[in-house]
């Protein structure tokens, strides 16, 4: 299967060059002449990551321990020791977080605390270096030098806005503030997977990093015997950090990633025989992506206040190709390309000592964004698809009214073109105050959001057809037919998102309770346009023959394709403790939550005879659960355990064909478990520094695969282990994952009446060296 080759439209190059030019300008900035030392005064720069001081995100006023939400934090050393290479690897490690690894790098479906979505807007926001990633297609990227990953669970919309109904993941990358020197690594593993990385954090102001990852893939396509998940990705990063004046700091962060991969190794499932067939599809399936993110951060520090700004320009071009029937039949294919440009700007005002009261701290922010997405998603119907899907359905319907009549299409293949231009923009104002009274800490916040979106659509197709019927002598051969459907739709909404919390500090133990709201943005069902056009074509063809259906083939049009935001209110109580003594220590966190989701964006069968499904605000759901995590060390041993449980179900959900009230929400696991035991032997003599051995266990399940809850994946477990040796100037490691070769199923779906699964990756080993 040939890998996807990206071919950028010329306009894309112009857009992508802009941030690069801005970066070069920043390097040549007049501010650099005669500058003071580039580091902020409060920073400590180390040549090792052990104990490095991490600057928290621009919006984290409170220390992590005082945040009144469930929080998971992972830092560089743990991220690298665990082999966390992308956000999908946080699954299980962070309680109640599940990002299944299936499809391609485009398919980063995030499930957190029982809620999630397979397409469109996510329930978890992702910020990288304080920049919100504006397209979920860019969530899954290769990690290089992540300094800190912080998952805040529960609605975080008061500070983080749209698409953070279940939480937000904050990733910070290393900078010269954290570390100076060279960091490089090379690793090699199963399926000829290798990863190379080199980063230079130059004393002063500038950091460069570059990385490359390749894998031959773990899945084979039986149709041609080739890999169906071959992967190549290149990443480049650049950071400038400067003190422009005594009170003005500047940071420029540029990241560029390119990837090309085969993908979608889905296997047909014969439910009657319980047989999972091998991966076997005949049309190219894969994904390619170019993603550029350029951010400018300024911080002005006066005696009374600090004003921070984060401005980003994000350009994404991606190209997904699907054999949409995932079989060796030539039914239909989809190629979806997107060229998206986004700009975000955030201003954050915080009081400094002159303004700040001892009992009152606060932050006020303004956020605005705009993005334009130029999407093309042509569906190509091939001969088998024309015969088995389109004509079979049409002729079946015809028989009931015109006995013996049969429709024919001349083309061996034809396209249903769907082009979209989607503009989305929004602005928000927010405030959070933090009041201290004795051992009490109160937090109150409110955010006011407006967001609007407009979609221009242009769907079209052309073909030739004829009708045969007993006693009918057609007056011509194949007749030409062209269907054009174009127009625009617009939506907009206001959102208010309050947050209230209280925390009490008992000393080693802190307890909190929080009520907060979040929202997931609305949007447009672009996926349904192919179905809309198919229905219009069927009606148009028949009307061309003077035949009219008693009821419309499909009752939906573009006016039905928009959906509004969903809202989630969360009630949470929890606590955390931290006891550290010489020789041992234990810290942990416990949280209980109940979340109610209204206007939930769910897929339904549109009215009429459409074959597709579309998203609409169709229901309500609720999720209740608990999360616990413990980290302890005793001598050279350390143990970390995390566990998440949630019971997430539909309170109201009728998809037009079935009532799923009371059923569990599919795709989201009931339990996530992770435990890791490690032993570190420190030599600290001569050449050899330390040896660490670890073993870890993770488990996830039960996962229902459909709304009817008739199919599910039972709870399943994985084992891992590894050894790491640190020497004076380098370290080596060997790591094994899924040592029991558990063959769980990571994804399920139905297409054209067939059922499919993707099976998880097998046992894997990786060896590597780090400098």
């Amino acid at each position: 299967m040939a890998q996807i080759c990206l071919s950028l439209p010329p306009s894309c190059f112009g857009i992508m060059l802009l941030p690069t030019v801005l970066t070069i300008i920043s390097l040549a900035s007049p501010f650099s002449a005669g500058m003071e030392p580039s580091r902020m005064e409060e920073e400590t720069v180390l040549d090792t990551l052990q104990g490095a001081v991490h600057i928290s995100s621009a919006k984290q006023v409170l220390p992590v321990g005082d945040i009144p939400s469930a929080v998971s934090v992972m830092e560089t050393e743990e991220i690298e020791n665990r082999g966390v290479g992308s956000i999908k690897d946080f699954t299980d490690v962070m309680p109640n977080l599940y990002i299944p690894d299936y499809g391609s790098a485009m398919t980063s479906s995030v499930y957190l605390r029982g809620f999630g979505s397979r397409m469109d807007n996510p329930v978890m926001g992702l910020y990288v270096d304080d920049v919100p990633i504006m397209n979920k297609n860019a969530y899954d990227f290769d990690f290089y030098d992540i300094s800190e990953a912080v998952l805040l669970r529960g609605p975080q919309s008061t500070l983080y806005g749209r698409n953070s109904t279940s939480g937000v993941l904050l990733l910070n990358t290393l900078s010269v503030r954290d570390f100076t020197g060279i960091r490089a690594s090379a690793e090699y593993g199963s399926a000829n997977t290798f990863k190379l990385k080199c980063a230079a954090y130059l004393p002063g102001e500038v950091a460069f990093s570059a990385g490359y990852r390749h894998s031959d893939g773990f899945y084979r396509n039986d149709y041609d015997g080739r890999s169906s998940d071959r992967y190549d990705a290149f990443n480049f990063g650049f950071k400038v950090h400067r003190k422009l004046r005594r009170d003005l700091f500047f940071e420029n962060i540029l990241s560029l990633s390119l990837l090309t991969q085969d993908g979608y190794p889905y296997r047909e499932y014969d439910s009657s025989a319980g047989i999972l067939h091998p991966v076997s599809y005949n049309d190219t399936s894969g994904y390619g992506r170019i993603y550029l993110n350029e951010a400018f951060k300024f911080k002005y520090m006066a005696s009374g206040f600090s004003l921070s700004s984060v401005t980003s320009f994000q350009v994404l071009y991606d190209d997904m190709r699907l054999d949409q029937d995932f079989t060796d039949a030539s039914l239909f294919t989809l190629r979806q390309t997107q060229a998206e440009a986004a700009a975000t700007c955030e201003l954050i005002l915080k009081p400094e000592p002159d303004w700040r009261k001892p009992w009152w701290n606060w932050q006020t922010g303004f956020f605005a964004f705009f993005k334009y997405n130029d999407m093309s998603a042509p569906v190509k119907f091939k001969r088998d698809g024309i015969d088995d899907i389109i004509l079979a359905n049409a002729n079946e319907g015809m028989q009931s009214g015109l006995a013996g009549a049969e429709l024919f299409i001349e083309e061996d293949e034809f396209d249903i073109f769907s082009d979209f231009g989607i503009m989305t923009g929004g602005a928000a104002l927010y405030h959070e105050s933090y009041f201290t009274a004795g051992n009490w800490l109160f937090t109150a916040g409110l955010r006011f959001d407006y967001e609007g979106a407009r979609m221009d659509y242009d769907s079209r197709s052309a073909l030739h057809y004829r009708l045969e019927a007993p006693g009918l002598t057609p007056d011509a051969g194949y007749r030409p037919y062209e269907c054009i459907y174009k127009g625009n739709q617009a939506i907009g909404w206001f959102e208010f998102m309050p947050k209230l919390s209280v925390m009490y500090d008992f000393g080693a133990v802190k307890a909190y309770a929080t009520v907060s709201e979040g929202y997931k943005a609305g949007g447009f069902n672009v996926q349904i346009f192919s179905d809309i056009l198919q229905n219009k074509m069927m009606e148009g063809i028949m009307e061309g023959l003077g035949v009219y259906f008693e009821s419309p083939v499909g009752n939906i049009g573009a006016e039905n394709t928009s959906y509004m935001p969903e809202r989630c209110v969360n009630f949470e109580a929890g606590g955390r403790f931290d006891v550290q003594k010489k020789g041992y220590g234990i810290s942990g966190e416990l949280s209980l939550f109940h979340a109610q989701c209204h206007n939930q964006q769910l897929t339904v069968f549109p009215p009429g005879k459409s074959t597709g499904r579309m998203m609409t605000n169709a229901g309500k759901s609720a999720s209740s659960g608990a999360e616990a995590s413990i980290f302890s060390r005793l001598g050279n041993f350390s143990l970390s355990v995390s566990y998440g449980y949630c019971h997430a179900g539909f309170v109201e959900y009728n998809d037009g064909a079935n009532d799923f009230r009371g059923n569990r929400i599919p795709y989201s696991p009931e339990h996530t478990v992770n435990a890791r035991l490690s032993y570190e032997w420190k030599a600290n003599r001569g050449f050899f520094k330390s040896l660490t051995a670890f073993a870890d266990y993770s488990g996830v399940g039960k996962i229902y695969w459909n709304e009817a809850n008739t199919l599910y994946e039972p709870f399943h477990s994985f084992l891992g282990a590894g050894i790491r040796a640190e020497f004076n100037r380098f370290g080596i490691f060997i790591r094994g994952e899924n040592l029991t070769d558990t063959r769980n199923r990571t994804f399920y779906f139905k297409s054209v009446g067939r059922e499919f699964f993707q099976v998880g990756k097998p046992v894997r080993f990786t060896v590597g060296i780090t400098l």
Partner: protein, 149 residues
């Protein structure tokens, strides 16, 4: 009325996406009324059935087009049926009355000549803004009475 009927001759084109050449244009007079079909010995009555009529240039023949008709209750679709080349027996001096008939006419439907429903025993007239006719579609006796819109 003759003026109206002849107005149809001014425009000669294809109507309703069919390839059949017909004397019916968008400006042709349209009648709306009741159609009765005898189906399996039972009467099936359809209301608000539209029929358009177009006279040939020499007034020797006319075309009738039945729009979106449903002949039997079980039909999930409605179809357009063109009855071409109906013989005009007479046209009154004032053009208000037209008498027509036909037999063995192959109707045009579903994009071609539809021999399964050969029209026989057609007789009818247009008089005082009312169109009425009887015919047999294949084996289904059909009658129609409608008024000029």
């Amino acid at each position: 009325m003759r003026t109206i009927l002849l107005l149809a001759l001014a425009v000669f084109g294809i109507f309703s996406c069919t390839k059949a050449e017909t004397d019916i244009t968008e400006e042709s007079p349209e009648y709306r009324g009741t159609m009765t079909v005898i189906y399996n010995g039972e009467e099936f009555v359809s209301e608000n059935v539209s029929v358009m009529v177009g006279l040939s240039e020499d007034s020797a023949t006319m075309d009738m087009k039945m729009l979106k008709v449903k002949f039997v209750p079980a039909m999930p679709v409605r179809i357009d049926v063109l009855i071409p080349g109906v013989r005009v027996e007479s046209v009154s001096e004032d053009g208000e009355t037209v008498v027509f008939s036909g037999d063995g006419i192959i109707p045009y439907a579903l994009g071609g000549e539809y021999r399964k429903f050969v029209v026989s025993g057609l007789s009818g007239k247009i008089e005082n803004g009312m169109l009425s006719f009887d015919l047999v579609f294949g084996e289904y006796p059909t009658s129609y009475t409608g008024y000029l819109l």
